[in-house]
């Protein structure tokens, strides 16, 4: 039998035990959340295996005009997602190629969308002006969309078909032939 002192102490002891278990469970939950959210996107690998993963949705601020632009608003169109940054030298070289494709295919339901990432807004705007970028531009400063698409660097280009599936990926400055091939595949799939 517990004495009176022991009986008085037991609720305190129980409370301390419950608190300790709650703290351990909380820390475990945080660890699981972190591991799950750090899981890198496998979109490039899936595309390389011939799969067509759903393009991660986003809604990003426009760089060229006020407002935002979401991928959902481009539903039914073929989208060429080009990730770039003003400090990236190869990004300069591919701008003319992307511009030509934008002017050539825009009447056939194609959108070239430039996503500036991990960059200063002022630098990005100056870059767009200097290299005469006329296709829509958005900005992903913190790089959230970058991680959703599993980028390993810039420039990288993804082809999204009319059904919102990623059907092609180029992890380097894109050439005219790579761009044409990717657009044709996205339009036919």
């Amino acid at each position: 039998m517990d004495g009176p002192e022991e009986r008085a102490r037991s609720p305190l002891k129980l409370g301390a035990q419950v608190t300790a278990v709650a703290v351990v469970l909380g820390l475990l939950g945080l660890l699981i959340w972190k591991v799950v959210h750090q899981n890198p996107s496998k979109i490039p690998q899936q595309v390389a295996k011939g799969k067509k993963p759903v393009a991660p949705a986003f809604d990003l601020p426009r760089l060229d005009t006020p407002g935002t632009l979401s991928l959902a608003s481009l539903k039914g169109k073929v989208v060429v997602l080009n990730f770039w940054a003003s400090w990236c030298a190869p990004c300069r070289d591919e701008v003319p190629t992307l511009e030509r494709a934008w002017h050539r295919y825009r009447d056939r339901g194609l959108v070239v969308l430039g996503i500036d990432q991990q960059d200063l807004t002022s630098d990005a705007r100056a870059f767009a002006k200097r290299y005469h970028m006329t296709y829509p531009l958005v900005r992903d400063g913190p790089g959230h969309v970058v991680s959703q698409y599993g980028l390993t660097g810039v420039p990288e280009t993804f082809f999204v078909n009319r059904h919102g599936k990623v059907v092609g990926h180029v992890a380097a400055a894109i050439s005219a032939s790579q761009l044409d091939e990717g657009i044709k595949e996205a339009m036919q799939s």
């Binding site: 400090w87 990236c88 991990q118 200063l120 630098d123 913190p142 790089g143």
Partner: protein
């Protein structure tokens, strides 16, 4: 007393230095507080193009008269909080600094309470047959008789 003197000296030296750093930031100070967003290393250890652009931006803002906090705020707007090498000491981020301290204090308290309880449990209980008289423990009569008998054998 010596501890207080050391603390006072630290305050006298540290606080004005922190205030000077806030109002007149230097690139070298800020580089240690920033991360390169592409290579994920401290800015002062990176020569990546993005790091160089941030360095250039910091110099521009210093020349424009921005305080340290203003420059850090502008970079967080541009790159997100991951551009900072350590969480800010304000708002929700303050938790990152306070929780480890709270853990240490809580741990010390728990150890202190447990040590106190253990030391209490180890104190000798006053036995019925061994009352203390004038600071000396007396033996039970039977035990005392046997001790006397044993001692008598050596006399």
């Amino acid at each position: 007393m010596r501890t207080l003197a050391v603390l006072a000296a630290a305050l006298v030296v540290g606080v004005p230095a922190a205030l000077a750093s806030e109002s007149h930031p230097r690139l070298a100070d800020l580089e240690g507080q920033l991360m390169c967003p592409t290579c994920k290393t401290p800015l002062d250890q990176s020569d990546a193009p993005a790091a160089n652009r941030i360095r250039h931006f910091v110099v521009e803002r210093i020349n424009a008269g921005d305080t340290e906090s203003e420059i850090l705020d502008k970079l967080v707007v541009q790159f997100g909080p991951q551009v900072l090498a350590a969480p800010r000491k304000r708002g929700f981020d303050l938790l990152a600094w306070l929780l480890p301290l709270a853990g240490l204090v809580g741990g010390a308290l728990v150890i202190g309470v447990l040590a106190w309880r253990w030391s209490r449990a180890r104190e000798p209980a006053p036995a019925g047959g061994a009352p203390e008289q004038n600071g000396r423990v007396t033996l039970e009569p039977e035990l005392e008789r046997r001790v006397d008998e044993e001692l008598a054998r050596f006399e």
